[in-house]
């Protein structure tokens, strides 16, 4: 059984020592002094090293194996990015240093913003938002500020497709909007007729992911943009799936007014077990005045930090965003350049179609046809016939060292598995994964119980998530 660091603790053990200081001020004020013991672990350096190496061996990253987690774009994270992000001239800058001592940092951020403008076809960017959902929230506030600046105050609704990420409606609600859901049509795109009936003088915006969460490019995008713009609304682009279209098509040219990107997806910054990400937001000129304080901007050839502007939405967090993550993304863009970005997207599309075509005789592709960077299969039939669910297939994949696809999303597909292989995987890796998916399918038809018992080779067997939620244990307490 795994040992918690608190169980490794032995009274009096030390790891790190500080330099000795001779300085003494007054004694610590009695009324503020902590009275309860601070029960942090007491361990030696060898203990902490063994502990975390042990934990790392029970974790799985892109560096361990194939990670086709749909909508998350788990591409290889180049080592070079880590090296540039640890340069002292970036890592040890105080955020409130005089601006003339951080020219290089400001230029790097401006360089990144300009590059993102070109990739997306937007006019200005802020790199302050810390993650995709933070970017969405920023975008919704920008849209709200735009309408209000025009005294167009009756726009209270944001339209979101039923296939959208849960963050979309949640972000719109945080910005005070009522969320209206629009259905998907039989091809997986936005139902144009329903959209027409939903837009009105109340429409503030439509939030759209394109290609969408089914991996499909919406062929009606121009018409969708027109419908929303004609109604006086703006178009918001969720950039979660930008990896399919770099150098091929740009949200700005499709008619989008605001976009957010996920640098930890498309631009190869590592996801660190849940973050930090970075969610820059790009806008067309009409929305630029509202960008948050802390955004890097250019005034009369001087690159500087936006402060206390009258029109701004405010600020989304402290300082200028996840700076080192943004440095990694700039490193990636410089490495790949215009040719490399395009080739990355084309290969992401190729790898997804390759896997789909080699699986679609067994697995039911929810929306058949050519996909972009990912595709969704449904295990609904198999669930009915063999009592094998999307979850069972996922857990079985673990025994082959493959991270499962995204499960049970999008919600409009029952028993969904969303597979996104991405461009940094080789043909051999894809072939192995394809064979594994096929083998698992055979087992599903003959011995469903074997899949329901999976996984067998992981550090723990299937985990009881019902127990965890019914009787939450959220911290370790020392036994009495």
């Amino acid at each position: 059984m795994s040992t918690l660091i608190f169980e490794t603790s032995r009274e009096g053990r030390r790891c790190v020592m500080l330099p000795v200081s001779q300085m003494h001020g007054d004694d610590v004020y009695a009324e503020f002094t902590r009275e309860s013991a601070l029960q942090l672990p007491e361990v030696a350096e060898i203990d902490i090293v063994r502990h975390y190496i042990g934990l790392s061996r029970k974790a799985h990253g892109v560096d361990n194996g194939f990670y086709p987690l749909g909508s998350c774009t788990m591409k290889y994270n180049p080592r070079l990015n880590e090296d540039t992000a640890s340069l002292a001239g970036f890592a040890h800058l105080h955020p409130l240093q005089p601006e003339h001592t951080v020219n290089g940092a400001l230029k790097a951020l401006w360089h990144l913003q300009q590059s993102l403008c070109e990739v997306t076809g937007m006019d200005a960017f802020t790199v302050q938002p810390a993650a995709g959902a933070h970017g969405e929230f920023t975008g919704m506030l920008l849209i709200n500020a735009y309408h209000q600046s025009r005294k167009d105050t009756a726009r209270t609704q944001v339209i979101v497709p039923d296939s959208a990420h849960g963050t979309n409606p949640a972000s719109a609600a945080m910005a005070g909007y009522e969320v209206i859901s629009v259905k998907s049509n039989e091809k997986g795109g936005v139902d144009i007729d329903e959209l027409r009936s939903l837009v009105s003088e109340k429409t503030a915006a439509l939030m759209l992911t394109n290609p969408n969460t089914l991996g499909l490019f919406d062929e009606n995008i121009k018409e969708i943009a027109e419908i929303v713009h004609d109604a006086g609304g703006l178009l918001y682009y969720d950039g979660a799936n930008l990896n399919a279209i770099m150098g091929l098509s740009r949200p700005g040219d499709m008619g989008f007014d605001v976009v957010h990107l996920n640098l930890h997806k498309t631009f190869s910054t590592p996801h660190g077990g849940g973050g930090p990400g970075s969610g820059p937001v790009g806008v067309k000129k009409i929305l630029e005045p509202f960008l948050p304080n802390g955004t890097v901007e250019k005034n009369n050839e001087e690159i500087t930090i936006k402060k206390d502007a009258d029109t701004t939405i405010g600020r989304m967090r402290s300082f200028y965003g996840n700076f080192l993550t943004n440095i990694r993304a700039l490193t990636y863009i410089l490495s790949l350049g215009r040719d490399g970005l395009k080739e990355a997207s084309m290969n992401a599309v190729l790898n997804a179609n390759y896997m789909m075509e080699k699986l679609n005789d067994l697995y039911t592709v929810a929306y058949p046809g050519t996909c972009m960077h990912e595709f969704v299969v449904s295990m609904e039939k198999e669930k009915d016939e063999y009592n094998v669910s999307a979850k069972d297939v996922s857990k079985a994949l673990l025994d082959y060292g493959i991270h499962p696809p995204t499960m049970y999303f999008p919600q409009i597909v029952h028993e969904a598995l969303m597979i996104e292989p991405n461009e940094t995987e080789s043909k051999e890796t894809l072939d192995f994964a394809i064979q594994t998916f096929r083998d698992i399918y055979q087992i599903a038809m003959t011995d469903g119980q074997a899949l329901r018992d999976a996984p067998l080779t992981t550090p723990v067997k299937r985990v009881d998530d019902v127990l965890a939620a019914r009787s939450p244990i959220l911290m370790y307490r020392k036994p009495e």
Partner: protein
């Protein structure tokens, strides 16, 4: 030059052939009307050595100060080697959110341990797996306390101004009234608070130590707040909790803060680490990921993301926050830092911060840098300056020292941590004596 695509051109063609498609077929779903029929206006790709040269040139245009006397929300502390090494393990760095528990026990356990350490520091019952930073943690905490009946949030004017603005930004279109509590002699004006309570008060937010380094009378504030049904939110510096009372001890309902001081580089403002901890009573309102302990099929202890029905992917527009990605790797780093320090090490850090800051303040007052507020403080304090603050900043900068933060022409916010050596403090004093003559 797509450096990270493994398949050769001929392998790509072979794959196309195997599925009976051409590149054109694959791109057909993108309508001609929205195709980019030109190359992106970016330079072509270059080798990693050239990229490194380019990025190094940017890095060299910045000045790294070996001695930093500026805090104001970003604190330079000593970071042990073991933290840097362990946190760069690839299995941690290159993993996504631990959706598949059986494959992610290492990450889940590390978060569970982090949550436990945050609870230990704050005295609270439950912590989430992190949020973006300290300022957004304050905003999320305010949102936690608001309901149909309680819609008024009172913020101390002594909060970090970035936290105040983030709260105002977050809540601007929600039915929440944000008001600022005035300051009296550098501390929250308790009398004003007493006379501005109401039935619809949702929360009172205090920073402790506050933006000016001053310790607030948190117990008295808590007592006043709890004469109503409102919640007390306190934003704390986690290092200070090795010396000072934990938030639960004076009755705080939600403890949040910026945990960058726990082993993270100052890094020009990010990535940082917002932490949030609360009581069992309102744990279901906590946003973001939470890891819980459970059992596997064999009855073995295991960890898993839990209480997920609070979150955006299930509750969609009814979720209280859209938070999805967090700062997990920063939380991992903070847990490693706290483990390597241990209770005594953290106390030593806090105690050196405290004593060095108080030493500097005393010596400064002899140089006519007068303490602005005569209040107890931790490792930051405000003084008036005998000469223009810009003169001080320039003079110290010539000697590679980052001076305190100028608040105006003759007021400065100083910070001293254990990372400033005794010798450096003496040098600073000598230089300040020069400049103030």
């Amino acid at each position: 030059m797509a450096q990270y695509v493994p398949n050769t051109k001929s392998e790509q063609l072979k794959m196309l052939e195997e599925i009976g498609k051409t590149w054109n077929d694959l791109l057909k779903p993108i309508p001609q009307s929205v195709r980019l029929n030109r190359e992106l206006d970016l330079p072509p790709g270059i080798s990693e050595f050239e990229v490194m040269a380019r990025m190094s040139a940017y890095a060299k245009e910045n000045k790294v100060f070996p001695t930093v006397l500026r805090g104001a929300g970003a604190y330079r502390h000593l970071i042990p080697s073991v933290v840097r090494h362990l946190s760069s393990r690839e299995e941690f760095v290159t993993a996504y959110t631990p959706y598949q528990a059986e494959f992610s026990q290492g990450i889940l356990q590390s978060i569970f341990e982090y949550q436990t350490m945050i609870c230990q520091l704050t005295g609270m019952d439950a912590s989430n797996a992190s949020v973006y930073d300290g300022a957004s943690a304050v905003a999320e905490a305010v949102n936690m306390t608001v309901d149909k009946k309680r819609r008024r949030a009172l913020l101390s004017s002594n909060l970090d101004p970035q936290s105040i603005m983030t709260v105002q930004t977050y809540t601007q279109h929600l039915p929440i009234d944000v008001e600022i509590i005035p300051s009296k002699d550098g501390r929250l004006d308790l009398e004003w608070l007493k006379s501005n309570l109401s039935e619809d008060l949702a929360c009172v937010v205090v920073q402790h130590p506050n933006y000016y380094g001053i310790l607030e009378d948190t117990q008295a504030i808590s007592d006043v707040v709890h004469t109503t049904k409102a919640k007390m939110i306190v934003s704390v510096n986690p290092i200070s909790l090795a010396l000072f009372k934990e938030p639960r001890a004076y009755g705080a309902d939600i403890a949040v803060g910026e945990a960058q001081p726990l082993g993270l580089n100052i890094a020009f403002g990010g990535p940082y680490l917002g932490f949030m901890a609360t009581t069992n009573e309102i744990v279901r309102k906590l946003p973001g990921r939470i890891v819980g302990q459970t059992l596997d099929l064999d009855g073995k202890r295991a960890f898993v993301l839990t209480l997920q029905a609070r979150e955006q992917h299930i509750r969609r527009e009814k979720a209280s926050s859209s938070l999805c990605s967090n700062q997990a790797h920063c939380a991992l780093t903070a847990a490693m830092y706290l483990t390597s320090m241990g209770p005594q090490g953290l106390k030593d850090v806090a105690s050196q911060c405290y004593h060095k800051a108080h030493f500097l303040q005393k010596q400064l007052s002899a140089l006519d840098f007068k303490l602005k507020f005569h209040q107890p403080f931790f490792h930051e304090f405000v003084t008036t300056t005998p000469v223009h603050t810009s003169k001080i900043v320039q003079h110290l900068e010539q000697h590679d020292i980052l001076a305190g933060l100028p608040l105006d022409d003759h007021t400065m916010l100083w910070c001293v941590t254990e990372a400033v050596s005794d010798k450096e403090i003496h040098t600073v004093l000598r230089l300040l004596e020069e400049v103030s003559k």
